[in-house]
Subunit: 127 residues, 2 copies
């Protein structure tokens, strides 16, 4: 248990492991930078410190983004979704979000092939 | 098991329940609309049909977004993150993403209070 106020805790649905996925979006470019996980302590620290905190599932420890890399995330706003099981954090990203040096973690993983002609067909179908 | 090609499956890390979180971003507004979950079948259908498919954890069934509401999502691109455990889908959203009628699911859940003066302090600290 953290110091997360009850009125905030009531709006967030943590999973069986006590975690909620947090989408990080850059405020200026509006790029989706990465997805991380927060427990109640990490969320509380994110809401109250101005910096983004995660719970690292692989390392099983708290992780204040950028402490070792300098790639810090400054918090502008935090929103919760309609059923409380996802968080969206608007940030100013310093340097780059991905540990590989790429701006977005999705720049590192890259695109999967999609069938574009089916997209065109669906577009036409919908007028 | 789906027909998801092995070279794609190798790039995606499904969790213990066979799911991967999928962030849905509107291509035009760049708004983050919602977070859903895909299994290998839903991902394969998303990559090949031009429409976004999810696995509904609450209903335990496949869910092609918009079939009942008309709020369909047309797929422009799909990316995977650096460690393969998150998906980002760029879409054209029809009507609105949230089942409540709000454009973004985060419009329905709304903002959590953040400490802004700490943000200013952190900004100053970082120069």
């Amino acid at each position: 248990m953290s110091d997360l106020p009850p009125e905030i805790r009531d709006r967030v649905t943590f999973d069986a492991n006590g975690l909620v996925p947090a989408i990080i979006q850059d405020r200026d470019t509006r790029d989706v930078l990465m997805l991380g996980y927060m427990n109640d302590v990490a969320l509380h620290r994110t809401l109250t410190s101005g910096r983004v905190w995660f719970w690292s599932r692989s390392r099983q420890e708290y992780w204040r983004k950028g402490d070792t890399s300098g790639a810090i995330q400054l918090v502008h706003g935090v929103e919760v979704d309609c059923d409380g099981d996802a968080i969206l954090v608007s940030v100013t990203q310093k340097i780059a979000a991905c540990h590989t040096g790429k701006w977005r973690c999705f720049d590192e993983g890259g695109a999967l092939p999609v069938v574009a002609d089916e997209f065109e067909k669906n577009t036409t179908d919908e007028g």
